[in-house]
Amino acid sequence: MAQIFHPFTNALSRASLVLALVLLLAVLVFAFKLYRSPYLTWAGVLLEQPVAFSHQHHVGGLGIDCRYCHASVERSAFAGMPSTKTCMSCHSQVWSDSPALEPVRDSWRSGRALEWVRVHNLPDYAYFDHSIHVKRGVGCVSCHGRVDEMPWTFRAKSLQMGWCLDCHRNPSPALRPQPAVFQMGWKPTGSPEERQVREWFSRHHDALALTNCTVCHR
């Protein structure tokens, strides 16, 4: 028999071995990135909405408090979505004939509710309670980002379980004094009441309790 393979197959075969290894790694890295990418998490993705509502204008500009529209945030698991009535309480006077607000007026006339696209959406098996987070001193910004700088509202964080755990493992840094909870641009100043909030928490909290499964899953 004569030579079966051409000399360059030596280089080729070794190269291909190395390449296979590299490829494998590449795939793993890609998957890792993909599952944390906006494509899957919707973080930072702008969504089609029935009305061009701007938090930047209402919160940043007019300085309306979160609770004016999201009324049940302190009492219920659900922060609450403003009813058409809430919108109309101002917009029957202000911008009462702007075409942008036609859907709102239409809903008010017909009684048909506005259908917003959910921006912050958790899976059905995850149970999140706004009231307790707010009461404990977790600022709105921590999860929803600087909505006062969002002309068009989008999901600020991935809302993935790993992200929840980051805070649940050690909540103290995220805690604010009550009055600061609903402030957008608040920065920790190291004030005594701040320290007190955190100390109180770490004193009154079983370190492992907050990462128990049934805290969120039932």
């Binding site: 028999m1 004569a2 030579q3 079966i4 393979f5 051409h6 000399p7 360059f8 197959t9 030596n10 075969s13 070794r14 071995l17 755990l165 492992l208 990462t211």
Partner: protein, 182 residues
């Protein structure tokens, strides 16, 4: 084939032997004669052949040991970190660091890493894969994987001389000596 040899510059001589005893003897002879860049080929592992051509100990064993130790380390570190540090959970009232339960995985990881080290270490040290090699140019070499035994002296050897070496190999009792074209 002769035509082939004339065209291509020879990269060594390949001597063919009938059985492994003859090959070992020839190999010893060649080594004694001062040849160093030489190799021997056989259809099955032959006792003392590698020593005959001056190859004594290989570096595989330590590599495998390394693999095993690494596997054990990784196995234990992973389990301890994941179940006691990263997400500590009360499972059946057992301690977070319940090392007895970690043993089986450590054990398996040790073996897995060691085995991988053994195989890939062997291939690496042997310079495989290498589908092309000059000796394959010699048609008779096909029998190296059947029933024939070969001694190969490379032309890069300082003592190498096409005529003398060919004569030398004949003297060692080779059935045939072939020129290995590049």
């Amino acid at each position: 084939m002769n035509t082939a040899t004339e065209r291509a510059p020879s990269c060594g001589l390949l001597a063919e032997f009938a059985d492994h005893k003859a090959l070992v003897a020839a190999a010893r002879g060649a080594y004694a004669a001062g040849y160093r860049r030489l190799d021997a080929f056989s259809p099955f592992p032959v006792e003392g052949l590698s020593e005959a051509i001056g190859f004594h100990r290989d570096a595989l064993a330590p590599v495998v040991l390394g693999g095993g130790v690494l596997g054990a380390g990784v196995g234990y570190a992973m389990q301890y970190y994941l179940s006691a540090v990263h997400y500590p959970l009360n499972v059946g009232g057992r301690p977070l660091h319940s090392w007895p339960a970690f043993v089986p995985v450590i054990y398996e990881m040790t073996i897995l890493f060691a085995a991988l080290a053994a195989v890939f270490g062997m291939l690496l040290l042997n310079g495989l894969p290498r589908p092309y090699h000059p000796v394959f140019n010699v048609p008779a070499f096909a029998r190296a994987s059947r029933d024939r035994f070969f001694l190969y002296i490379e032309s890069s050897d300082p003592l190498f001389d096409l005529q003398d070496t060919r004569r030398f190999l004949r003297r060692q009792g080779a059935l045939d000596v072939a020129d290995v074209p590049a």
